[in-house]
Each structure stands twice: as C-alpha cells, then as structure tokens.
Symmetry: C2
Subunit: 540 residues, 2 copies
C-alpha cells in the first residue's frame, strides 16, 4: 500500500461532485432511506472510436478518493451558506459523519480489456454513499478509460517498436487534463511523456529536446559562448571548428547559421542526447545538413547522437528523404548515421499513423499531443452510473429512448451482477458472460448457456477451457482490499491482453464485436422488470 | 488584488511544463544566452468551431502561475535525479534563482473577443523565462479560450433568455478538466454549473436537483417517512393525502408509484425548489402526471414549484407536449402551471440548440455537459507560442508548410507587436490592426493605412471613430500590473462585446471573417525576414 494514499489532485474531495448528488442525499436522508442497501453500476454502452475494445483505467484514483473521503468543515460551510442553505440543521452535521466504511466496491483489475455493459465499478452499500460517489467515479473513469484506449489504439497502429511519446500538455483540458492524459496514455502503451510533473508524480519516463524557438534564439555562430567540447575521455576539442570543417567539406554552404549555432550549443549541453529539431527553416536544405555536421562531429568525439525531429511537412516523404541523407551523411568520416532516429510530431492521429504505414515511412518515433489527449475522434466515453438494485430488488431506468425505439437504447441491465471471461482452447478470450452476482460461476470444461441480453432468440453454449472472474472486491470495510500495481505493471497487463486478443476485435476497420452474453436468469429478470415498470402507453 | 494569489490547482508550479522547456533552458544557460532579451507571442491561427470569433480566457490563472513561480527543492531534486541528471551542478542552483521579476507580459483584457494572429500574451524579458513559460501558458490559454468560445456560441444559439447550466464534470478530462470547464463556460455566458467545487472555488452559481436513481430508489409510496409537509405559514398538512387525492381526481392511475413517492420526498425536502426529472419510466404517461400532482399540491400549500427536467427522447416534441399538459394540469385547482420551467439535457450541442429553435421548442433551460466541456466539434484550439524577437531582432519560423504551399500556412508574424481595435461611426468594431509595438497608434478620426498580412495587394484605408488598444501591461516588475476583475464582470464584458459585434461575424453558417490587418511597416518586416532566412531550394 502506498504511504500517502491521497488523490493525486488535492482538489479532489467531497465537493468534487455535481450538486444534485448532494440534494439527493438530503432527499434520501429526509425520507429516511439514506441507509437503504443500494447497488450502483458504472458502465459504458459502446466502445469508443468505432472500435470493439476498451482499456479500463482510473481505478486507483477512485480508490484514493474513497479512502480519503470526508466533508471538511469548509466544505460543509460552503453547502450551508452557499450551495444548499436553509436545510434542516441536523443534515449538515450528518454530512460530517459520512464515509465509505460501509460500502463495498467491486471492479475489474485496472488495465483490463472491457466491453459494453460490463460493470467497471459495482458499488454496494448505503444508498447515500453510492449516490455521492457518482460524479467523481464517472470523472475518474470516463476520461482515463478513453485515453488509455486511444493510446492503445495508436500503439497498435504504430506497431510495437516505435518510440511513442505523449506531447499533450499544452492542448489538454486544464492542468490535470494534462496530468491525467500522461498517466493513462502510458498505461495504454505510450513510452513516455513530455510532461515533467507527470514524470515526478507517476514515474513516467520524461522526454523532450528542443522547440523551434531554440533554433531561432541563436542568431549566428557568434552567439556561441565557447568553441570547446570535451570528448568522452575528457580531452578538449575545438568542436565548432570541427563542425565547420565538416560543413565546408560536405558543401552545406546554404544552411542557416543560427540553426547550426543552436545545434552546436545543444550538442555542447547534451552531447549524449543530441536530437535536433530540423524544420525551423528548411528541413532538407538546412536542418538535416546542419544535423549531419554536428552529429558527425559528435561521433568523431566518441558520442552517439540520437537523431532528428520533424514537426511539419509531408512526414512520410521527408522521413524517407532524411533516411537517404543519413545514409551518405557521415560516410566520408567513417561515421554511420544511417540508423539515427527520425522522430515525427505534428497533428498525428491514429488514421495518420495507419496512412504513414502504407507510405512505408522511415519514422522511428512519434510525439503525439492534441489528438491523443483530446481524443479528437471521440472526446468522451459516455460512461454512466446507474442504480441497479435497492434492498435486494432489481431496479432499472426505462428511458424515453427505450420506449420509442425497438433497440436496447439506453436501457440498463438490472441487479447485482458479475462477469466472467471465457477462454477457448487456444488460450484466447472467446466471450464474456454477465450473471447475477449470486449465481454459480461458469466452470472450465463445462457447458455454459449464454443468451444475448437484448434478443432472447440469440443463444449459444460455450465450453470454456478457462474462466476468469472479471470483478474483484477492491474496497471493503473502509480499506483498499487489493494490491494496487505500479503503472508499469498495468501497462504490461494491457499489452499482454492485446497480444492475446483475436485480431478481429482489434482491427481499425469494421472490427467484429466481442460477444458479451448474459445468463438465462439475468435475461429473465431484465425482461420481467421492463414489462412490470413500463406502463402501456395510451396513444390517441 | 486577491489575498491568496496562487494557481487554483496546487499542482500548477514550475514542473507543470514540457521537459524540452527545461532542456532548452540548460542549453541557453550553457551557451550564455539565457538572459538575452526575447519576445514570445502566444496566438492562434484559426477561430475554433468553424466560426469567426474567439473569446479570450485564461489570463488570471496564467498570472497566478507567474506570481508564484519558483523551483522548489523537490522540483530541483526531481530534475537532478530523474529528469535531467548529469548536467553541470551550477545549473541546478541557477534554477533556484529563476523567477519572472525581469519579465513584462502584455495581454488583452480577459474576455476580449479576439481574432487569428492577435497575440493573446506577449512575453518580454530574459529568453530563459519566456521559454519556461511556454507550456503552462499554452495549457492555461488554449482550453480556457476554447471552452469560453464554445459556451458563447451555445449561448448565442440558445438565445439570451434561456437558463444554461454546465453539466460536464463527469465527462471532462480529469478532475480539473471539469473545474476549468465550469469556470470558462461561465465566462462564455452560461448561468451556472452542476460542479460544487467550481461553485466553492469561483463563486459560480450551483445548480442541480435529481438523477434517475432518485426516482428509482423509492420503490413505493410506503417508502415515505411521513405524509406531512408544513405550508408556508408553518401549518402541517397531509401532503401525501393531498397529492393522492389530486392524482385520483385527475385520473392519473397508471403512473409509477415509486416515482411519485420520489417526487413527494423531493418536494418535502425542497418545497421551494421543486424540479422533477420526469423521464425515468415514461415522460408523458408517468413523470409529467406525477409532477402535476405534486406541483399542484405544493402550490395549494403556498409554494412555487420550478418545473421539470427531461433527459431523453425527442426534446422539442416532448417539450411541446409537456407545455400542453401544464396548461390544463392544475387548472381545476386554480393552480397555474403553464409557466413552469422545462429543462432539457441529453447530448445537447450547438447544432441541436439551433435545430430545437427551428422546431419551436418550449424548453426554458438547458443542461449541457459532454459537448460543452469536451468541445466535441473541435476539441483543441491549437494556440501556439513563438519566439518573435531576440535582442531587438525580429525572428520567425519558416515551417515546411510555408515553403511547400503558397498560403500563409504556419508562418509567424515576427517582431514585438501590439494591436488596436478600430470602431466605426455606429460604435461597432470594423477591424483590428497589428503594428510594431513602437509604431504610433492609429488615431480616431484619422486615416489608417491597413494591409493584408499575407497579400500586399489587399489594402484599405480605415478612418476609425474610436480606437481601442487591445494589449495592456498585465505583469511588470514582479507584480500583477492590472486589476483582475471578478468572473461575473468578465462574463458581462463578453456579453457586451457580443451584443456590439456585427452579426455577420457571429453567425453559425458561413460567417464573414473579421478583418485583421497589419501596418505597412509590419508587413515589410515580415516579407524581408522570409526572403532573408529561407534558402532558395535546390530541386534536382
């Protein structure tokens, strides 16, 4: 267990909620049903980005909130004086007593691949506490899950061997839009982040070199403080002289002097980490030749330069042109620059990654900001949080959409449920099945009857070779009931599951939906409740 | 000045940045140019959402960051041990000394309507500090400006008299994705938020009543603790009996008992704020009749109920059907429910607001979450931060896109600039003009020569009746140099400007771009620099 188990963002506390959770809390308390035993499910209805898989994330932060939950004096003062004045005075005192010690929470392991309608949190206990958790739980599940999934999709698109760095801080929604983005992009399969604070908070590898301003800030070679660079053995060399000699010999006379000065200064500062942004003036005529001169000189002094970054232009074409330039660049000095990294940024998204593949690009790594962190292709997951049982009675909302269309619409599968992943002989997942939480679990080697939750005519028998219960008790008796793994382990778990998932569910175009079945009993409960609680409409 | 002038989010500090700002800081320091005098501009290239106006926001939070900026011991330890190990030891000590006392910042007033390429921040001072501010300034300008603009567009679409409440906390990017969203949606013209924390932090009105779970939590009328409600004078009444009598007399025998119990409980808790969510089971057959019974009973006891909320179905059609039901609902009791509010939520966006208008809806207020806070139509502003001058020399980046296309592309207008808004005789804005910061200002009543920044053939003379300098010195000598207005005042300023802006720039479809001109001198500098710093490409 972490020593200091508080929410990462100090603002996350009891008032981190929608007002209606608290007006309802008052309504429950006043009606005397606040301690009624309630079960809430948090789930989503469709996988994001037109895909058929979702990476579950956000559990740890939710448990941090639950562990620390209490109304502080200043919170209650705000409610009493501003947000909800004039209520019975005992209610404000009652708020002080509230915590999650009487609540149990079940959830899949963070990083689990999940599918529509599988509960991501099942919250059991006093009605008032289940209600109060709603907004924060959604906030800390929706975006984390969305971006982890987005990152995983981009990782699948780019392939396993590319360096992928999250660059989104400047375009994210407020300060810890960025912090959340960095955390969950890493879980989803990114290698690092530009965000230093996320590095500090979460131990995510931090990456970054230079912006265009660095190249611009050096107006000429005269701006350099010293021509000297020590080689690996500590011996001083006239580095600037060496670079200029190479530049002259290679005939790169048209390159921008200020840019060359910037590259030299950067190499002097970071001789072991020389990566140059080459598109400030002209990628092929200035940036790349300047890089070749400096990288060759660095190599002659025993250092290993890293490569270049491009941030504009035709990325695939440029990458191939740059690779060709690398091929011959240091050749006459016995320096092999061919395998130098080409790192690309500039409005990259999943579609562009796939397009670059088709163009047989030569890019080794990607920096992705805006389209990763804003999840441009679908900026919200749409997870919801529904009351599914009260005092042992199944509950469901029958929305207007359910009534008006024949489809399942917004309908909720009621009752206290759990879910199992059924694996085939080849060790790969075949399907999930949801059952009532008190039903017997499916067993490996035994036939399991599965029925489509919305169409009773669709049914199958599955004989799994392995059964994994997806939910575990993560919060019980006022304590976190599981070991929370480090981010790196969650990231590996995501990666392992993706590697073991049939490709048909992962592909970008027209993926096959992963089947989520229910048990006969759960199916029957759902139908009965719909029939019972929907009045027959009078149309006239 | 606020007493406690810190960033709202305690995580916002010196490490709230991209790593490359700090690697560049080291590069500048090592090359001895860290104190060179630099000017950076923060600006955007296109108004968001296909529109032709933008509401500038985020200034106060940026000034809070700047006011408190310093590297703490733990920050420097992180850099020394993890993020940037192995640098010259003096550099880590140097970081301790950095602050913004030598920097001047110019900006438009928060809430100003702004247009492409107008600097939103002009940061002048030591190169290293201008560089270090980049990421945080972008983070705290891009999203704030985007969502303030989105909110303003939704307000324009809905009209001035609708109650508009931001409901986005559950779908926002991490905790203060939500907090930022609430703040800047309010500036843009929303009336309130569901987010209690934003209410506490910023004094934004908080709104909220009930979720579907509240209706579901009451399984029957037997769940009610007491039948009693006191009237305005304090006299006790059998409220449940009264409601059931009305229900019986109006013939609403098919309505859901649990829902009715929930409405009664809510009315008992909030007799002065009775607003019922009516679509849990069936809006017209259950929710609305149940509302009518409870609202009529409340009215008979001297209370004024508020209305209903719908969260699913055909919103325009339902609103008209509900209005008709209101018309006759309390009639036989002498209670007029006709003007009860109809409040709608459920995936509303700007387009839907306009479509609802065409359908002549009867909705009085909107709760907008996901599409407001994620800015679904365009989830990032794309603001950038560029070095435009160093030691008095204008600088610009010539991007690959500039070279490859004939258009202005990513090109930057160089130099230390300011901007003026020129008003016509009718008091409305005619155009903005950017000039070098040391050029003479345009004067009211005098002819001003204006030229298109990217096409010298397009030029006009404007004789303004009034001239407003858009930029003011907001940070100087280590202090905030302006009075920061309360949010309410910023919100009013936005609203006043929108009311005074020619409609052609505000309309949703094919709006006319608002003209942004430059002075002849600025035009010439831009062209000269492009010619000088771009090598003529050799194509072979």
């Amino acid at each position: 267990m972490k020593k200091n188990f508080k929410p990462t963002n100090p603002l996350v506390g009891a008032l981190f909620t929608d007002l209606y959770e608290l007006t309802m809390a008052y309504g429950y308390w006043k009606a005397g049903i606040d301690q009624d035993h309630a079960v809430f499910d948090l789930f989503f209805r469709h996988c994001p980005f037109g895909g058929e898989f979702t990476v579950y994330a956000g559990l740890e932060e939710n448990l941090r909130l639950v562990s620390n939950f209490h109304f502080r004096k200043s919170d209650i003062e705000h409610l009493e004086q501003v947000a909800m004045p004039g209520l019975e005075p005992e209610f404000y005192k009652y708020l002080e007593t509230l915590d999650f010690s009487g609540t149990k929470i079940y959830a899949p392991r963070e990083g689990t691949l999940v599918f529509p309608r599988i509960p991501l949190l099942r919250v059991e206990g006093p009605l008032v506490m289940g209600q109060i958790l709603e907004t924060a739980a959604l906030n800390q599940t929706n975006y984390p899950t969305l971006i982890a999934t987005n990152a995983a999709r981009m990782r699948l698109a780019a392939g396993p061997n590319k360096l992928m760095v999250e660059f989104g801080l400047r375009r994210s929604q407020g300060p810890d839009g960025g912090i959340s983005a960095s955390r969950y992009a890493y879980i989803g399969g990114f290698d690092g982040t530009s965000n230093v604070l996320a590095g500090q908070l979460f131990g995510i590898p931090e990456k970054g070199t230079m912006a265009h301003s660095f190249a611009q800030a050096f107006t000429s070679l005269a701006k350099l403080k010293t021509p000297i660079l020590k080689d690996k053995s500590g011996k001083e060399h006239d580095f600037v002289g060496l670079v200029l000699k190479i530049r002259n010999e290679l005939g790169f006379t048209q390159t921008n002097d200020g840019e060359l000065a910037a590259f030299i200064a950067y190499a002097q500062a970071f001789p072991n980490n020389f990566l140059a942004l080459v598109d400030t003036y002209n990628t092929l005529e200035s940036g790349v030749p300047n890089f070749i001169c400096v990288a060759t000189a660095l190599s002659l002094l025993g250092y290993k330069p890293i490569g270049v970054r491009i941030d504009s232009g035709d990325l695939a074409k440029l990458s191939k042109q740059i690779r060709r330039a690398f091929e011959t660049g240091g050749y006459s000095y016995g320096v092999d620059l061919f395998k130098q990294s080409i790192f690309a940024s500039n409005s990259i998204n999943e579609k562009i990654l796939r397009s670059l593949n088709e163009q047989e690009h030569e890019i080794n790594g990607f920096g992705i900001g805006e389209n990763l962190v804003t999840c441009q292709a679908q900026p919200a997951l749409g997870g919801v949080y529904k009351l599914v049982e009260i005092n042992g009675r199944s509950r469901r909302k029958i929305s207007e959409d359910t009534v008006q269309s024949k489809s399942a619409g917004k309908t909720t599968i009621p009752g206290r449920k759990t879910a199992y992943r059924l694996f085939g002989k080849n060790g790969k997942p075949l399907a999930d099945i949801m059952t009532g939480a008190s039903e017997a679990a499916p067993k490996a080697g035994e036939k399991t009857f599965c029925i489509n939750p919305f169409d009773g005519n669709i049914r199958v028998h599955i004989t799994p070779s392995k059964v994994l219960e997806l939910h575990e008790l993560v919060w019980d008796k006022g304590k976190i009931a599981v070991n929370l793994p480090p981010l790196k382990e969650i990231r590996q778990y995501v990666s392992d599951q993706l590697a073991n998932m049939p490709a048909e569910h992962l592909r970008a175009d027209n993926p096959t939906p992963y089947p989520v079945w229910v048990s006969q009993k759960l199916y029957d409960t759902t139908r009965e409740l719909l029939a019972k609680e929907t009045p027959t409409r009078e149309i006239n």
